[in-house]
């Protein structure tokens, strides 16, 4: 009954599945991106305080949300790899890191661009901005540690330990605007309360968050395919794929 689940851990099966999944993930991402952008840039009314400058929220918030989600994904994948010794979990963790670092960078830059007209400054050493910057350092440290090992198994396990040690930063980022008096505004979306943003601005934001998430998963599937192929390059299924004899791996 659980065969389909265990088959996922097999590199050739995952390679084929990820190939199919990436189209099924990136197509909705593109559609949602268009809808969200149109809704955010054209349909949503200007903010009564910030005018049109608030619209960068439609890039900034999804990027920041993903930067944290991806780090947690990386840490969980690393933990699964450590505990159950699944090579594929380590491959997923390795593939997450550059994507997460890019989104963290995007969040910081779009935040700075938004901050200049709103707060009068590109940067402030307040808890949320600083902890997001620390997240960027954590990603770089992860990628650096991974690259420093020659033995792939050691690299996998050492970076998994590092990712798990660093995951404590993610709740700090998330709760920083509640725990400390911060220049950054408080939470807009909350699980239990009504959102503090008007409905016609809210739906493009949720659409963009969903779009970015689909985009991340689609790109992750593509990266994991490449990572798995690279790790298993000596095996027969990989040689078949590379020779073109079997384009999608084992089905």
């Amino acid at each position: 009954m659980w065969t389909w689940f265990f088959r996922l851990a097999s590199p050739p099966h995952f390679y084929a599945l990820a190939g199919r999944l990436s189209t099924w993930l990136l197509a909705p991402a593109a559609v949602l991106l268009v809808i969200g952008t149109w809704g955010g840039l054209i349909l949503a009314p200007p903010d009564y305080q910030q005018g049109d400058a608030f619209r960068i929220i439609y890039v900034h918030v999804p990027s920041a949300y993903l930067s944290m989600l991806i780090y947690v994904t990386m840490a969980v994948a690393g933990a699964i790899g450590l505990i159950w010794r699944m090579k594929l979990a380590h491959a997923v963790a390795a593939s997450c890191a550059p994507i997460g670092a890019s989104f963290t960078f995007a969040a910081l830059v779009t935040g700075a661009v938004w901050g200049k007209p709103m707060w009068g400054t590109y940067w402030e050493w307040d808890p949320r901005l600083t902890s997001e910057l620390v997240l960027l350092f954590l990603y770089f440290g992860y990628m650096g540690l991974r690259g420093a090992f020659e033995n792939l198994t050691q690299a996998d396990r050492a970076s998994a330990v590092l990712a798990i040690a660093g995951v404590v930063n993610v709740p700090i980022i998330h709760f920083s605007v509640i725990w400390w008096a911060s220049l950054h505004q408080g939470p807009t979306l909350s699980k239990l309360e009504a959102p503090s943003i008007s409905g016609d601005m809210l739906w493009p934001l949720l659409t963009m968050i969903l779009a970015f998430t689909f985009f991340f998963l689609g790109v992750l599937a593509m990266r994991v395919r490449a990572e798995v192929l690279e790790r298993e390059v000596q095996s027969r299924w990989a040689q078949d794929v590379l020779r073109g004899a079997s384009p999608v791996g084992v089905n």
Binding site: V134, F137, G141, G144, T153, A158, V161, L162, A165, G166
Partner: protein, 242 residues
Amino acid sequence: MAAVVQSSGQDPAAGDSALGPFALFRVVFQRDLQVGLRRWTDASNSALFFILVVTLFPLAVSPKADVLRMLAPGVIWIAALLATLLSLHLLFRADLEDGTLEQLLTLPYPLGWMLLAKTLAHWVMTGVPVIIMAPVLAITYHLPASAVGILTLSLLLGTPTLSLLGSIGAALTSGLRGAGVLLAFIVAPLMLPVLMLGARATDLALAGEDVTGPLYLLGAFLVLAVSLVPVATAGAIRISAD
């Protein structure tokens, strides 16, 4: 190690001749302290670096008393953190190279407990000189006596935590060549709360306000580190010693 087990009065031929936990801690701690003292120049490097960094600021920023007084908590704490980072590579490298670390792995004792003893010995060699030098340097920064006392107390509570957190990074990178800056980069984010709390406690003392909050938090971090870090470091050592 075997000779020490025999001489502790246990009969190794009998069934369970294990060392008790405190005896084991003492054995590992004493051995590491002895080895460290033999190479005391390694450890003194971090104390000298601490003094150097603290000396640079009045020369480059300003020698005026009010400026220095304002800078002192942060500068002295940053220098202590940098000195810790610089000395971390000493913790496991020598033992990894001559095979002692693998011997530790094969012993029937909890690895985390033994690593805690090693890290304590390392802190005595590298952290305690910093704590001793800090009041002297704080006086050169024109800090009043009350603030100097709180600074020293915050360092006493904080530097063991820094050494412990650093031991995770040292364990992860002990097998790597030229991983000095990488080690600093991966442990520094973990050390930030301790740095901020220690500097803040001293700042509050300087302003004459209540310092118990940050000091309690520093103590909490120390207790947390002592209980959780050895687990992580043991895992990391097992990975590196493969």
